[in-house]
Symmetry: C2
Subunit: 210 residues, 2 copies
């Protein structure tokens, strides 16, 4: 109970203090309402207040994504860590959280299409894509493959969160999504991103409650 | 298969190119051998080559942690996302990956000790602590509570990865771990950290193979 360390032990107080520090330090002038809450929670997930400068959200993204969730849209995730980071209790309609990466058909599919397993796993999303919330938090190949699937006539998601992280294709895939324009998008320009940030964005969109 | 985007579709080639970029750009002069591979993989997980400057690893940490894994040490994780990010196929001894956060005893325990659920969940680690690899990738309270438990006489882990992320207690808890000195440690000084980085460190320690 006690000990030689003096630290905040109340979870709700930690959240409140964290969000207050973020709002005091980060430049959030470009964002308001649900969009602002999304950026605050993404910063909370990564510890970097300068992240806001790299966030690129299409007009109406936050409203479109939040409305899709309220309608019961499935949440299609490229990585288990993304799916795992989504707080089920915040979801407004018991939304299904889907990650098809472990489907036994994926390895053969990856071989067949000559792409990564993550990209191949998205082929198994087709039946659920229409009106869904897509969340890519790990693999640039998944984001590129999604854009190709849309080119080939796949049904349109309601919104796409595209924040893969890394050094090969991440910045390029996010720029491609931002330039595409068919679906409301949220990206983090450059190399930064990842599953925690992506899940945080979903958690912000799922509920107005902080 | 084809499409309007030109991108690397081979998973192994993406890894190789990523690690080559990291080694070309990051200042890794302070690290060698297993320690260097740990830092490279942590950078890979977050997309930031300047992370190396904030990494604080005690001498012999990487060797102690890797040896513990080879001996079959359990991996005790504060968050499901950390546990989820550990690649089971890389583990040298089928090591158990443990996260006690969902244990039904946790809410009452949190109430009793007046701390967060994550900190309370660690009370359930006691029987497995001796010689384990502890991985805190999310909650500063978990790291503070662990140090308190060691003060109270809990068995010593073989090594501690302490990289919680955030604005309230994260930097302070990591500084406390680094100053403690009882157990070989890996921390990221400051606010940065998180489950992806923590899992990446474990994945690097688990196998020499990149």
């Amino acid at each position: 109970m006690s000990g030689r360390y003096d630290y905040e032990r109340d979870g709700a107080a930690i959240y409140r203090a964290s969000f207050a520090i973020i709002r005091a330090e980060a430049d959030l002038a470009r964002f308001s309402g649900a969009a602002e809450r999304v950026v605050v929670r993404m910063i909370h997930a990564c510890g970097m207040t300068d992240l806001s400068q790299d966030v690129d959200m299409s007009g109406g993204f936050a409203e479109a994504a939040a409305a899709a969730l309220r309608r019961g849209a499935p949440i299609l995730c490229d990585a288990r860590m993304v799916a795992n980071g989504i707080t089920r209790a915040r979801l407004p309609a018991g939304n299904e959280v889907v990650c098809t990466l472990d489907d036994p058909r994926v390895p053969a599919l990856a071989e067949k299409i000559g792409n990564t397993r993550t990209a191949a796993a998205m082929e198994l999303w087709r039946a659920r894509l229409a009106g869904s919330l897509v969340v890519v938090g790990n693999a640039p190949t998944a984001l590129f493959r999604l854009l190709e699937m849309l080119d080939e006539g796949a049904p349109l998601p309601a919104a796409i969160i595209g924040i893969p992280v890394g050094f090969v294709g991440a910045a390029e895939s996010k720029a491609a999504l931002a330039a595409d324009g068919r679906v409301p998008h949220l990206v983090v320009q450059g190399r930064r991103g990842g599953s925690a940030m992506a899940a945080a964005a979903v958690n912000a969109l799922a509920s107005d409650s902080e």
